[in-house]
Amino acid sequence: MGAQCSIDRKEKTRRRYFKIIRKQKELYLKKHQLAINTYNFKNWLKHMIRELKSLQEKFPEALWPQELVYLCKSWKRADLKWRSNVIWYNYLHSYKSNIPLPDKTVTNFKLPLPSTFQVDSLLDFIKTHLSHTEDHFISAMIFKFTDSFDKQDFPKYDIKPIIDEINDFVQLALQTLLNYYGGIVRDLIKKKDGDISDLILTYTISNKIHETALNTYLEMYKCEESKYQQNIEKFQYLKCKDFGIKELFQLDLHLENAYGASIDKLRDIEKVNSPIEKLNVITKAAVEICNCIDFIWKENDETTQDDLIIDSDQILSIFMYVVLKAKIKNLRGHVKMIYDFGRKEMQNGSMGYYVITLEACIQQIEMLENQEGFFE
């Protein structure tokens, strides 16, 4: 009897719980109905084909517009699960508790997505979709693009055709994304317009595209690169002091591998393909400069906060030291990639500051011999 009562109570609680959830879902759908249905979900393929026709006219030599038309025509999947996943993710996120709990509880929800995931934002969530080339259209489209692009030939001394085609493809993918996911993603784009474009670009620049772009820059700036490499080798013996770095920041007085963490971080620029990832590497290299100085001086009572302020003359000098010691091949090519493929808005922020500083260092290293008195 007691056991029966307990089961009834549990059943009642369960029903009440699902009633609340149902109500919340209804409220959510009512509130977001317009956003959810803003775009004609069923017509994204037609939209794509229309856009691709104009791209075929613009790039008659390119293989990818035609390949993408084939992809559109052969795409028979409804792709509904991806869109509904985004809607339900947004629903769950909008009802997430704002009350900080001492012991964080995790609720598991089964979404139509086959694998489990852990994400912080809708953008991260969309990122998880982009690795499903088999049944996610945009993912398949990026894969097809990179595959076809790799087979194309480009002029040896001109980067512009590569930039034009990649930029146009990224814009096409963004437009498709709007039509594919509908208004929820539109709202995301409204708030974080650059992030989503960076995400697509990151997936678009394959190893082969990266290599092609870098080789083109190398051909374009052959003389400059040769001079740069010569000077890198020639001036390896230089010490922090020679760059005009103030004594407190002359870490080679204390360590064999001064600014080693920053030098290692900067070398990572060769391992990443997209402009945003390269920018991140440069910014982290700048942060490592501070960490390296902190390592020596933070606990030293003789230094004041004012002593530990790095001004622009000092950061430029330290960066020159880091760049020289990092001995990165075709560093100019990596920087050019950021300028040519990255968003212009990024270049005005802190990331932009360090890219310009890096660019300035390359110029300075190239001209080292001609600058009499530079090291005085």
Binding site: F41, L178, G182
Partner: protein
């Protein structure tokens, strides 16, 4: 509150005139932080409010040493505002202001707003440039002049607020619809995110 507008501002001037201290004072309000650690003071942000709009200024400090002089154009490229700083106790630093203003007028963005800061005003007794002379020069070239002291904070808020206001007004005049957000399409046109279209049946989506 997220800023509605963001602008790049550069500080220029000879070495040791106090450019870094000025931006640090503006962005942090103080020289000393509670926790002692290395500070990269070359890129800072300052938010100001003008006519109810939150404006974010990205403050780019530039190298002042002569050996880095040729690199300055890299830094002021794309800047919407510039603060040219001189030290009131150093006549030669004021002479450099003249060449900076000239260079900015010729080589920076056409719509760049320039202001001049006569820094280290806490050392009035050592002044080498009379205020009248500095004001007369500023009037002649059509820019604003401020007396500042990074040490006492005098004029620091004013110069950044005024420059922010000037830049905002110039940019709003130039691009009245900047508030609208959209996407650049392949042909360089903006894809304006449309208002809600006709509501589809709910079953379409899930």
């Amino acid at each position: 509150m997220e800023p509605s507008q963001e602008f790049k501002i550069v500080t220029l001037g000879e070495g040791r005139v106090g450019k870094t201290s000025l931006t640090l004072k503006a962005a942090r309000g103080q020289f000393h932080e509670d926790e002692r650690s290395t500070v990269n003071a070359n890129f800072l942000q300052k938010d100001i409010t003008f006519q109810g709009n939150q404006i974010r200024l990205h403050l780019w400090d530039t190298a002042g040493q002569e050996r880095f002089r040729a690199l300055a154009p890299n830094y002021y490229r794309g800047a919407k505002g510039a603060i040219v700083v001189y030290d009131i106790t150093d006549k030669s630093s004021f002479d450099r202001v003249v060449s900076w203003v000239k260079e900015l007028s010729m080589q920076a963005d056409k719509d760049i707003c320039i202001v001049i800061a006569g820094n280290k005003c806490d050392r009035e007794k050592e002044r080498q440039i009379s205020k009248a002379e500095a004001m007369e020069y500023a009037r002649k070239v059509g820019v604003l002049h401020f007396d500042t002291s990074a040490k006492t904070g005098m004029g620091v808020e004013e110069i950044f607020s005024e420059l922010g206001r000037l830049v905002y007004e110039v940019q709003m005049k130039k691009n009245p619809g900047t508030g609208e957000r959209g996407y650049k399409s392949r042909k360089g046109k903006k894809i304006i995110i449309k208002k809600e279209e006709e509501v589809q049946k709910k079953k379409d989506c899930c």
